[in-house]
Symmetry: C2
Subunit: 480 residues, 2 copies
């Protein structure tokens, strides 16, 4: 690893943490941070720094960092900007390795703020300290239980995230959590007075807990370095980027937000493509494609086989595939004949395979699609998570027979899900499931998620994910 | 109303219903329909028809419809296709007014099926019966408690829906229900051997319970009639159409699905636009725009004022607006000055208004945006539903002060929400709320929904909804 990034280890896995601006008042940032430090019971010592309080959250508070009796690896600064230089001075005196500055009111506010920011960084550098922010909203490492962000109850997982907007970063974390996957590390980069998006990506590229890197970027500090780095990273880990500031309005909002210059969008687009960066248009796409990359193999080509319980979904899915440049090829005679043997006469006899309501045929149909040579990826719609909740209020005898029927149906879906795991390994083709009947309590959907396969809300979302996988797979194949 | 459509009243609000194919076996369609008939306790008599059972769901079963002792307004047919002509014969004998044929295996399967379908319709017409389907999956009327579809627990509301795909229709109903709004009537039109999408739209246009009409269309039976009708309908009710079959693959899937000819997509596009139809690309858009039309006024122009708690959202929202042809204009000096008085110095001083974390300023900022002359619609991001859940595991004293703080924050949001109702009425401008922190238990979001204002998942979705409202508002203004 780039040696200058070694101190980032202290940012994510410190042995001791000081919170400069720790507070007992719920309207202060220093309250939220302390509340997470206390509740998470992390494996590091916590030192609240507050000149007016004896205790914060029951822990002994110190008036100044320099009065803490032991070493401190990492400090968070959440006090007004005018006090930041003195606090950083104390960090230098205390030989702190990394400092995260939540405080806003620096470069993003104009020339005076920029001068103050430069002063804080100058002091930090005099002591070899690496700085996150200022004007950021924290970071987390699920492995060490360290959460300076407002997000919490985030499960550990393979996705690492860097965001130039703290609020937006939190939003991405919540959306990923809703989708069902976990995160390794997260950092909000703020004004990037010292450490920048490029540094964090370089760090996450080496981080063993991180298998997929996501980044929300408003502007690049060093475009050349970014693209050199991205070219290396994308060969070993997917790098998914949401680059904001496409329009003039967006660009000027980015300037006032984190003092970022957005740069020319078309230049970015071309460079991202050349570096194998997966560029997404919005957070939904970022979360959807990240979820797919966790466990699904990359397709060898763009030919999609569609299997659906109900007709309209096939129509919409074929439309979506075509719009995205995917092929929905005719099926070879051999596949048609095999499908004829398991489906009723009224099936569609074509791709999309409309099973005409015979959800129990899903197992055979999906298997046949996967083993068909001319199909690179399978889009499954409504076959999993199909069984609805048991309704209440039925006569006893009917309720009993319905319950048994449901049980049988759910067992069928569970068998299908288990079969998928084997088949994905055997055929090395992605199977993207649009669970449009999605019931939160669906056991088969939960089983898929336990295995690292997440479902999509709509046929269009499923097609979109396949298009992204095809593009990334094609890039890797060409660049080998 | 078109007199030929009068019998549709019997379809939605019959005094008595026969289920031909009622069953005690959970794997049969006739089971699900009966289970809803019994559990809903609707205001009509139910007659199960089944030659092999004495009782179905505890109700006396009749071997044939002709043996039911009283009048029957409406019958559902869920028996194999070859028995459908005889069943329809009985419906004629019994003077049934409307028949819904769930059964598949007709025109969509080829020439033999087409002949059988023509025979069933010929018999129906000999008795003046109107037919829904065949190859459909039911309908509902929330006002009468009649649910022949699989969907249930659908709340009454202003949205009426027609769908050429039953599965897809059910999917739209579930998505709308998840969004929080209710439905008036729904019908799956299937093969449209008699009644077609055009008929149902004409009926819903006159239906007092329906304020907004949604339609999923694979192919039009009579394009000219549709467009004449749409031109009339869209002046009094919004008509939102999802037209599938854009691509060749989609079109051929539609043919095999409901025997529909999709027609040229660009011709449809132009005709839809001319008739004021709100054409959407997918179900999410349909549901999102329907939700907005329930309570929001239409904007007078395309100028959007954006208010956000956190910076990144403003960047993304401005980008999305621009992409959709919306204007994000500079704010007049007067508005800037008023905002300066309520916001801290670090606010963005421009549109988007980034409140720099001061969520308590939302009330003043949104109010000022609404009263600004150069703003036609307000996009609010993250100001409502901002307050997270109370975390567990805090020390008692801290937990108490946090609880009070939360209460104060939620009360602030509730005050904001109440203010919105007044202001929407006063300024007649739509306020689209992207509740990106969306917590399901948020009281302010629930209060908004009670009033008929629904929130959106992302800034992009919010911008998209405004773009649709601007387009429809522009159409109505031009066509007056």
């Amino acid at each position: 690893m780039n040696r200058s990034l070694e101190n980032i280890d202290y940012l994510f896995a410190p042995r001791s943490v000081a919170v400069i601006g720790a507070s007992n008042s719920p309207d202060k940032w220093g309250f939220g941070i302390m509340s997470r430090m206390v509740r998470k019971k992390p494996h590091f010592n916590v030192y609240p720094i507050n000149p007016k309080e004896k205790h914060v959250f029951g822990l002994a508070a110190y008036p100044r960092l320099t009065e803490v009796p032991t070493d401190v690896d990492f400090a968070v600064i959440v006090i007004p900007p005018e006090y930041a230089p003195a606090a950083m001075q104390d960090c230098v005196a205390k030989k702190v390795k990394a400092v995260l500055v939540i405080t806003a009111g620096f470069k993003e506010t104009g020339a005076d703020g920029a001068r103050l920011e430069a002063e804080v960084v100058r002091i930090a550098r005099s002591g070899g300290i690496r700085v996150v922010g200022p004007n950021c909203n924290g970071h987390f490492n699920t492995a060490s239980g360290l959460f300076t962000t407002g997000e919490e109850d985030i499960k550990p997982g393979p996705v690492g995230l860097v965001s130039q907007s703290g609020n937006f970063g939190g939003y991405i974390v919540r959306q990923g959590t809703d989708k069902g996957f976990g995160f390794s590390k997260y950092v909000s980069s703020g004004n990037q007075a010292d450490l920048s998006v490029e540094d964090y990506i370089e760090y996450l590229a080496e981080d063993e807990d991180t298998k997929i890197i996501c980044a929300y970027i408003e502007g690049l500090k060093d475009g050349q370095r970014f693209f050199r780095l991205a070219q290396q990273v994308t060969r070993k880990k997917p790098l998914i980027v949401l680059k904001a500031g496409r329009s003039n309005e967006g660009a000027s909002a980015a300037m006032s937000h984190t003092a970022s210059l957005s740069g020319s969008d078309s230049v970015h687009d071309a460079a991202f493509k050349q570096a194998g960066v997966i560029r997404v248009e919005n957070v939904d796409d970022m979360v959807d494609i990240a979820a797919a990359l966790i466990r699904q193999p990359l397709p060898q080509g763009n030919r999609v086989g569609i299997v659906t319980v109900g007709g309209g979904f096939g129509v919409v899915a074929a439309d979506a595939c075509r719009r995205l440049g995917l092929d929905v090829p005719p099926l070879p005679q051999e596949t048609l004949e095999r499908l004829n043997r398991i489906l009723p006469a009224r099936w569609s006899h074509a791709n999309p395979v409309d099973m005409a309501g015979t959800v129990h045929s899903s197992y055979g149909c999906i298997g046949n699609m996967m083993k068909t040579d001319g199909v690179d990826a399978v889009l499954v719609i409504s076959c999993i998570g199909y069984v609805p909740r048991l309704p209440a209020g039925l006569p006893a005898e009917t309720a009993e027979s319905l319950k048994n029927y449901h049980k049988m149906m759910v067992e069928g879906e569970l068998k299908l899900v288990e079969g998928l795991f084997d088949r994905i390994d055997r055929y090395r083709k992605p199977v993207i499931v649009a669970a449009v009947n999605d019931r939160r309590e669906s056991k088969p959907i939960a089983k898929l998620a336990d295995y690292g396969i997440y479902t999509y809300r709509t046929p269009e979302d499923g097609a979109k994910v396949i298009a992204y996988l095809v593009r990334y797979g094609g890039y890797l194949a060409r660049s080998q």
